[in-house]
Symmetry: C2
Subunit: 360 residues, 2 copies
C-alpha cells in the first residue's frame, strides 16, 4: 500500500500497529523509503520482523522494543497446539533469534526478556492461552510506550509558548516510538493545545534523520517546519528565529549529562551563547544512574563511508581520514530542563534527578 506523503491531515500514520487478534499481523512503515514514499509492510513471521529491525525499516529504541515483542507473537502463531516443553523451546529460539537483529539495542533485549518472563510465569495455561498472554503483554508494552510519549508531551508542552520558533536535532519523534515520540511529542502536544509553533529541523548529518524523518513527521501533522543544514543553527538563532531547542537523548547520566546524536552538543553551546533555553525530552528509562557523569558514556564511532559516500555519490577523496562519532555528550550545565514522563526536572543536577526518579 502506498500513501501519498501529503494526504494525512488528521491522525498520523502509525509507525507500527498490530492488526487483528492472536492470528493477526504487524503492520509497520518501511522507514527506509521515507521521505520519498510512505509504504507499509505487513509482517506475518518473526523473520520479517527480524529483517525489518536489521535493515532499519523500523528504528528508534522504543519502536524496536515493541516490534520485537510482536515478533515473538508472530513466531509462535504456529505453535498453539504444541505441548509446553516444545512451546517453551520455540519461545526461547524465537527470542534468541530476534535478539540478534540489532546487537546493541537495549530496548530490544528488555522487551524480549519481558515476554519470556511472562510466558514462564503462566504455568496453568495451555499453549494457546500462553500465546494470547504474550500478545497481551506486547500490547501492554506498546500501550506503556504511547502513554510515556503522551506524558512527556503533556509536561513539556507547558515550556513552549504560542508563536515560538523551536529548533530540534535528529529524530526523536513518532517514528522512533509507538506513540508521539519524545522531543516531537512536546511539539505535537503544544500544537494540539493551539500553540502556533514553527519548527526548524537540523538535517542531522551524516544520516539525515532530521531531513528524512523529522521533516516528514511534522509535515504529516501539519506543524510548520523549515529544514536547515546543521551548520545553519547558529545563524537561525542569531536571527532570533527560534526561542527554544528541544532534543531527545539516548542515555542520561546521574548528574544530567546527556548523550544524544552527534551535533546536539554544538546546538547546546550555540543555544547558551544566544540565551535560548535548551530542553532534553526522554523517558525515565533513558537515565543510567550507575554513571555518575557523562564522561563514563562510551561514544560509538561509525563507518567513514557514512560521511564520504553519504548521498549515493563519493564526496571526499579516496583514502581520506574520517572521524565519525555517532553521539556526543551535552553537559548538564547546558540543559535548561529535562522533560520526562514523570514531569519536568529543573534545575538539572544529581539531586534533582535522584528526587524525580525516586518518586515511584
Amino acid at each position: 500500500m502506498t500513501l501519498s506523503a501529503n494526504s494525512h491531515s488528521g491522525p498520523p500514520v502509525p509507525t507500527l500497529e498490530w492488526i487483528g487478534d492472536a492470528g493477526g499481523f504487524l503492520r509497520l512503515i518501511d522507514q527506509t523509503l521515507l521521505p520519498v514514499e510512505c509504504r507499509h509492510i505487513e509482517c506475518r513471521t518473526a523473520e520479517c520482523v527480524w529483517e525489518a529491525i536489521r535493515t532499519l525499516r523500523v528504528r528508534g529504541a522504543p519502536a524496536i522494543g515493541v516490534a520485537a515483542a510482536y515478533g515473538v507473537v508472530l513466531g509462535l502463531q504456529d505453535a498453539l497446539d504444541l505441548p509446553r516443553p516444545e512451546f517453551d523451546a520455540r519461545l526461547n529460539s524465537v527470542t534468541d533469534y530476534l535478539a540478534t537483529s540489532r546487537p546493541t539495542a537495549v530496548n530490544l533485549f528488555w522487551a524480549l526478556d519481558r515476554l519470556r518472563r511472562v510466558a514462564v510465569e503462566e504455568t496453568d495455561l495451555d499453549s494457546r492461552q500462553r500465546h494470547a498472554r504474550l500478545l497481551a503483554e506486547a500490547r501492554e508494552i506498546e500501550r506503556e510506550d504511547r502513554e510515556m510519549c503522551a506524558a512527556i508531551g503533556r509536561h513539556g508542552a507547558a515550556l513552549l509558548a504560542d508563536g515560538m520558533g523551536v529548533l530540534t536535532h535528529c529524530n526523536a519523534g513518532a517514528l522512533a516510538t509507538a506513540g508521539d515520540g519524545t522531543a516531537l511529542a512536546v511539539i505535537f502536544a503544544a500544537a494540539a493545545a493551539g500553540k502556533r509553533l514553527h519548527v526548524y529541523a537540523d538535517e542531522t548529518r551524516p544520516l539525515l534523520q532530521g531531513a528524512r524523518l523529522t521533516c516528514w513527521e511534522l509535515q504529516q501533522r501539519q506543524v510548520p517546519v523549515t529544514l536547515i543544514c546543521d551548520s545553519m543553527a547558529g545563524q537561525v538563532m542569531r536571527e532570533r528565529r527560534v526561542q527554544a531547542v528541544v532534543t531527545g537523548a539516548d542515555r542520561i547520566a546521574a548528574n544530567g549529562d546527556a548523550a544524544n546524536k552527534i551535533g546536539t552538543y554544538s546546538v547546546a553551546v550555540l543555544a547558551r551563547a544566544h540565551a535560548i533555553p535548551f530542553y532534553v525530552a526522554a523517558p525515565s528509562s533513558t537515565f543510567d544512574l550507575s554513571l555518575a557523569t557523562g564522561a563514563e558514556i562510551p561514544i560509538e564511532e561509525r563507518q567513514p563511508a557514512e560521511i564520504t559516500h553519504g548521498f549515493g555519490r563519493q564526496t571526499a577523496p579516496d583514502g581520506i581520514g574520517v572521524y565519525n562519532p555517532a553521539f556526543d555528550v551535552t553537559p548538564a550545565e547546558y540543559i535548561s530542563a529535562l522533560i520526562t514522563e514523570r514531569g519536568v526536572i529543573r534545575p538539572v543536577n544529581t539531586a534533582s534527578i535522584a528526587g524525580a526518579l525516586a518518586t515511584e
Copy 2:
C-alpha cells in the same frame, strides 16, 4: 589528462596556468570532477573560459579573476591584425561577454576592467603589441595573486605551533586562487616551515567544499587531514583535538565583522566556548570599508534543492520548507586576529583595521 589523486608529492597541481606565449592557452583543473578525478581542461577560446567559470570548473573569487583575464587574451588571439577601432570593439565585446559568466563575482569585473583600462592606455602600440600587453597584465594579476597568498601564509604561519590541530571550514585554498589560497596558505606555510599540523576539515554542507576540495588539497600536499561533518566541530574541540581555527572570508566590514561560508559563525561561537583562537585569513581586497559593520552585509539565499537533493538523491519530503543562507557574519569580537598580506591585525576593531589598511 587524468592524474591519480595520490601521485603528487612535490609541488601541487596548479589550479590554473597559462601555457606558452601570446598564442598559448589556459590550462585549468576541472574542479567539478574533484575529488574523484583530477583532470585538466585546456581553454583555447573565450567561450571555453566563460563555460568553465559558469559551470564552476574554476571557482573562488581570485581564481575567477585570473581565469577571466586570460579569457580576454584568448578572445583576441585572432584579432592581432585588426586596426585599432575593430580591436577595441572586439575587446569590449569579449569583456562584456566574460562578465556575464558569474554575474555577482566582484573579482571578475575587477580583472576585466583592469585589462580594458590597460588596453585603452596603450595608444602607441599596434594590435599585436596591445594583445601582448594584455597577456602581460593577465600574468601580472596572476603574479600579484600568488604573492598575496604567499604573504598571507608567511604572516599567518607564525600563529600556528608545531603539533597543533587546526580546524578549517569550507575551502579557502589553492583551488580558489592562483596561489596557495588564504586560510590554507597559512597551513601550507606552517607545514613548509616544518611544523607538524593535523587539520580537521568541516565537510561544509550544503555544497561540501570542505570534503571535496579542502581534503583533496591537503591530501595532495601531504598535510595530515581528518574529515568531519559540520556538526562534529564542537565535539572535536571538546576532545581538545584542535588548538586553532583558520577560515577565509568573502567580505569584511570596517569593524572586522566577517562574512564567510554559512557555518563559520557557529564554528566561531564554539571556538570561543572552548577558548580556542579563531583566525580569519583574507587579502586586503576583501575589506569593504564602506560598511561600518557586518549588519550591512547582505546574505544571499540559495536554492532549496542544494539541501533537499544535494548529491543525487532526494533526502527530504516533497514540498518541505527550506532556509538556505549561503553566508553568515562572524562578529569581530569572535575573531582573534585577521591575517592579511600586509600582516596580522590584532586586536580586531575599526581602528586597527584602518591603521593596517592605510599603510600603503
